[in-house]
């Protein structure tokens, strides 16, 4: 009996939820401009601000309120980073293999992200070259996929509004296929350089199966979006007028 109405019979990762990698379709990714709208404290209250350090708050205010996001690295076609890959409005496909999971993204300059599931541990971030997408390993917690990542560079923003992070960033993403059409994405951001405690952002991605008709013309596949093809807008964006 399939766990979901039309879960494929083939189970690459036995007994575990399928994320649709063998089906024709894509996961639609929401456009989350400001993470704190989706973040709540321990009492369930929405954060007015995430638990910034004073320096982080000043940096965020500079980026968002004064510079009006003009320096967003994603605007220069650099990879959005983690967890922001799942907040750009470009779809993704998730391929499960016995020893790893591969995310392929329409946005973020048509990039891929590999998550190892062969039992290896996260490296000591001092031992690896800092990267945009970091180093990711995952395990199952019941039916929830838990992805832990570190080894990031400090060249991405956590969202379009400019929530900062540094090289000490550690992200824990929990992906739960709550029903056939939805994956809940809970991302915990842990970066003592910019935040006084870890905080969690809850979003979701939704399934679009292969359809024909006026609303879906992608044939169940990602389109080819090459951000850097003709990227000319960003350099014309200015911050607050007169500043």
């Amino acid at each position: 009996m399939p766990r979901f109405p039309n879960e494929p019979q083939y189970g690459v990762q036995a007994g575990k939820p399928d994320f649709g990698g063998l089906a024709k379709g894509v996961w639609n990714v929401p456009y989350i401009v400001n993470l704190q709208i989706n973040a709540h404290d321990e009492k369930g209250c929405q954060y007015i601000y995430p638990p910034f350090t004073p320096a982080a708050k000043a940096l965020w205010e500079q980026r968002e309120l004064k510079d009006l996001e003009k320096d967003d690295p994603e605007g220069f076609c650099l990879p959005p980073g983690v967890p922001r890959m799942l907040y750009t409005p470009y779809p993704t496909q998730i391929y499960q293999m016995p020893d790893r999971i591969l995310f392929v993204f329409e946005g973020g300059a048509h990039v891929w992200r590999v998550v190892y599931m062969d039992g290896r541990k996260l490296p000591n971030p001092d031992d690896i070259n800092p990267t945009y997408l970091g180093y990711s390993v995952a395990h199952w917690d019941g039916d929830t996929l838990v992805i832990e990542s570190n080894g990031f560079n400090n060249r991405t923003w956590l969202d379009a509004s400019g929530h900062p992070h540094g090289e000490q960033l550690k992200v824990t993403e929990r992906l739960t296929r709550t029903d056939f059409n939805n994956i809940k994405v809970e991302a915990t951001i842990d970066d003592p350089e910019f935040y006084t405690k870890p905080w969690t952002v809850v979003t979701g991605i939704t399934w679009t199966p292969n359809r024909t008709g006026p609303f879906t013309m992608r044939g169940g596949e990602l389109l080819e979006y090459i951000c850097q093809e003709n990227n000319k807008d960003q350099i014309h964006i200015h911050g607050v007028l007169g500043k």
Binding site: V104, R155, L223
Partner: protein
């Protein structure tokens, strides 16, 4: 007496590789814990020469005259197919039952996701949106992976030297794993807009066991 010291690194290299050279259990298995190193071929030189037509020769001569200055790959755009197989960045195959995903270190950290079916099932969209990487469809022929690609845009070059192609480009790729360390690659190039007949690119890839792809983001400082 001439030094034979060079024998030491040579023998070390040989002995290091010795245990892993050999037949693979399944030649259709292109994956595994490692990556494929790709060669750098700046200029394709097929036996018998490149069969330019008049228009192809004209574009080629212009790109030679300008010393390939307008190579789109330098603007960090995807290299296209088959050129991504001879840019000097590694790649990895990830095999699913119904598709072959190829992830590349170069060409701006991109991927190709190729549906795999039967040769009889070969079908492309009737009028695909032209793209850098085209519309791919693959099947197994013996132990070779065949990939048929159409639907390209005309914004890539076939190599750094500047061999041109247009939107009519049709590429048939053939990947054959000869042994544990070697992959043969041929690409048949057909584009009546620039060439008088189809011609073939032949190259290869070598396996680096237990290695992983690095993150190379071309556009990082290209602005």
């Amino acid at each position: 007496m001439r030094s034979k010291l060079w024998l030491i690194p040579a023998a070390t290299a040989f002995l290091t590789l010795l245990p892993v050279i050999g037949q693979v259990a399944n030649q259709r298995d292109l994956g595994g814990p490692g990556v494929w190193s790709l060669p750098n071929i700046p200029e394709l030189m097929p036996a018998g020469g490149v069969p330019f037509n008049a228009k192809g020769k004209q574009v080629w001569d212009e790109r030679q005259r300008t010393q390939s200055a307008s190579d789109p790959e330098r603007a960090c755009l995807p290299s296209g197919v088959p050129r991504i197989m001879y840019m000097p960045y590694s790649m990895e195959f990830l095999q699913l039952p119904n598709r072959m995903v190829i992830v590349y270190e170069g060409g701006t950290h991109i991927f190709r996701s190729i549906p795999i079916g039967t040769k009889a099932g070969l079908k492309h969209p009737a009028d695909p949106n032209p793209t850098y990487l085209g519309d791919s469809y693959g099947w197994w022929e013996g132990d070779s992976l065949m990939v048929d690609v159409v639907g390209f845009n005309d914004r890539t070059w076939l190599d750094s030297a500047g061999h041109p192609h247009g939107e009519k480009l049709h590429v048939v790729e053939k990947y054959t794993r000869r042994d544990s360390l070697n992959l043969e690659y041929t690409a048949n190039i057909e584009d009546p807009e620039y060439y008088t007949r189809p011609w073939t690119v032949t190259t290869s890839a070598t396996y680096r066991p237990n290695d992983r792809l690095k993150e190379y983001i071309c556009q990082e400082t290209a602005r």
